[in-house]
């Protein structure tokens, strides 16, 4: 499928690369975003990368739609940046190198009330589930749903479960959850229908970090590290006291 433009009303334009969840398509989305940022066009308010599309919210009184569309189709040809090849900074304005993160998680018990059910549904033990989740390097495909909420993928085939039949009214903040091929962390307490496996002490969204309020960005890589209850409590207290900088969660 060649990239195509879709009108999302008169104030937004969507560049769509395909119709499936695929890291290669998502990498094209990120590359197009970076190429667009380098153009520094006036009249754009938001540029939103999603699984397989990039949406530009703009003011049509200040930026000609036709011109924006032509730019976007050119940006669609931008070369993708492989995570493995990413240096510290590429030097291209607007382009941020993907970051590798290692996020500590306490699994099971009251932190992950669905761990046992997930083990049962997949015919594995709880420790096999934890091992599998932590062995997989997950890609941040997009941030959406709630401020700082990362959609991570993709989980091994055998771990893909449908959403809960009845969503929970309140998923605790910082819960690690899975559904289908995706994993996510809820930065805020919210209703939710995903399976809760554990909880992280890491703060995923911080309004005081104006330059980068969301910890994770599309294109980043995430690995989970299992921790015990006492380490979770120690880290959570340190995060609350702002004794830990976000950079501490980057993979060594």
């Amino acid at each position: 499928m060649t990239p195509r433009l879709l009108a999302l009303g008169d104030g937004a334009l969507t560049l769509e690369f395909g119709d499936r969840i695929d890291p290669a398509l998502n990498a094209q989305v990120i590359a197009a975003r970076d190429a667009l940022a380098a153009l520094r066009l006036d009249g754009i308010s938001d540029v939103v990368p999603a699984w397989r599309s990039l949406t530009v919210h703009f003011d049509p009184l200040h930026l000609d739609r036709q011109r924006l569309g032509e730019h976007l189709l050119r940006c669609a040809q931008a070369e993708t940046q492989e995570l493995a090849l990413a240096g510290p900074r590429s030097g291209i304005p607007g382009r941020q190198s993907p970051t590798r993160w290692q996020i500590p998680v306490v699994f099971g018990d009251e932190f992950g009330p669905d761990l046992a059910a997930v083990a049962q549904a997949t015919g594995r033990s709880e420790s096999q589930i934890i091992e599998a989740i932590c062995a997989t390097e997950l890609r941040v495909f997009l941030i959406g749903f709630l401020p700082g909420f990362p959609y991570l993928g993709e989980l091994p085939d055998w771990l893909r479960l449908p959403r809960l039949a009845t969503p929970r009214a309140a998923v605790p903040a910082n819960s690690l959850a899975i559904a289908d091929a995706q994993a996510a962390i809820y930065p805020w307490q919210s209703p939710g229908g995903w399976h809760l496996l554990g909880r992280t002490p890491v703060r995923l969204f911080d309004v005081d970090k104006v330059g980068r309020p969301a910890l994770l960005a599309p294109g980043d890589a995430v690995r989970f590290r299992p921790i015990a209850r006492d380490e979770f409590e120690r880290l959570a207290a340190a995060v609350a006291a702002r004794e830990i900088e976000p950079a501490a969660w980057q993979a060594q």
Partner: protein, 335 residues
């Protein structure tokens, strides 16, 4: 300061919105009707997108702890009570001077929403560049929530502005809402599209700042009701599997997984903000060129409206005009 004495229904602070953070999952938010926000602010001498209180159906009662100038944009039935317990009607679409300890009861609203602006603006911290309240993530406003009784709000200082009034209240059009065919128009049968642009829909009780769920003919999909989530925007009309459309508004999430049959154009978006449960809506398809012309027209109408404001006859104060240096040339002529 302003003290909130009573807030029977949730009212939130809103400004021009939190643009620039949607890639991080942060909704745009901001006033549902940015034009009326600008009018309320112009009546008290503020810049157009200054934060104001957005009120739905029934507004708060509040007390001024010092003399203040306020304005109500909307069809309120407000009254002012002085310290002696004497009550007088407080008009809409004009500057209102409140003496120390006077109480303003904003009363019931005829129509969906209205704005209360105060000269100097409400002194609230900007969160990610905006003072707009987004309650789900506790951003903006007062501690990220709707106002409640007991809240005390600091108000910007400055000399009282020239009292103004708007000779003619702005009119909300009643024509069909203009839409652009949606990015997933091809997910719907031709019968669904025909029903969408020819039938009346009713705003259901599920209506808030995130969106309006509509009742009407069922809009059938041709190939499933799930898409791989992509970006949405205020005005986008999503149709989930039950075939009942949802029109998204300012607090909508940044991405959504339902096909979008159409998007209401920017010029007609404010009218959706005023829609109340039970109200009927119609849609009509327009071209992108027509949408652009409509935006220009809406901007011109708003500018005309603000330019039409005149000083209050009763409060006409020539000295204040001189002080504000609004009468250009007059001061020079004295030399």
């Amino acid at each position: 300061m302003i003290e909130i004495l009573d807030a029977p229904l949730p009212a939130t602070f809103q400004d021009g919105g939190r643009a620039g953070y949607r890639h991080l999952g942060v909704p745009l938010s901001g006033a549902l009707d940015g034009g009326w926000l600008a009018i309320a602010n112009a009546l008290v001498g503020n810049p157009p997108a200054t934060v104001a209180l957005e009120i739905r159906l029934r507004g708060p009662r509040l007390r001024a702890t010092r003399p203040l100038t306020l304005a109500l944009a909307g069809e309120f039935s407000a009254r002012i009570e002085d310290a002696a317990g004497q009550s007088r009607a407080a008009g809409n679409w004009r500057s209102l001077a409140l003496a120390e300890n006077e109480i303003l009861d904003t009363g019931f609203l005829k129509g969906g929403i209205g704005y209360l602006a105060v000269h100097g603006g409400f002194d609230l911290p900007a969160v990610l560049g905006s003072r707009s309240t987004y309650a789900r993530a506790g951003l903006g406003g007062i501690e990220g929530r709707a106002i409640k009784s007991g809240d005390c709000l600091k108000v910007g200082a400055g000399a009282p502005p020239i009292p103004l009034r708007l000779p003619q209240a702005p009119r909300l059009a009643n024509d069909p809402l203009r839409v652009i065919a949606g990015p997933q128009r091809d997910y719907f049968t031709d019968a669904a599209w025909a029903a969408f642009i020819t039938t009346e829909f009713t705003v259901s009780r599920e209506a808030d700042r995130m969106g309006l769920r509509l009742d009407g003919p069922r809009l059938d999909h041709t190939r499933g009701s799930d898409i791989i989530s992509d970006a949405v925007t205020p005005g986008a009309i999503q149709v989930p599997g039950d075939g009942r459309p949802i029109v998204l508004l300012a607090d909508c999430q940044t991405v959504g997984g339902y096909p979008k049959i159409a998007t209401v154009i920017g010029a007609d978006l404010p009218r959706l903000g005023h829609a109340l449960p039970g109200q009927t809506l119609r849609f009509v398809e327009v071209s992108l060129e027509q949408a652009l012309a409509a935006r220009r027209e809406a901007a011109a109408i708003l500018a005309e409206c603000i330019a039409s404001m005149v000083p209050e006859r009763a409060g006409f104060d020539l000295d204040a005009l001189y002080a504000a240096n609004l009468i250009d040339g007059v001061i020079d002529a004295q030399h």
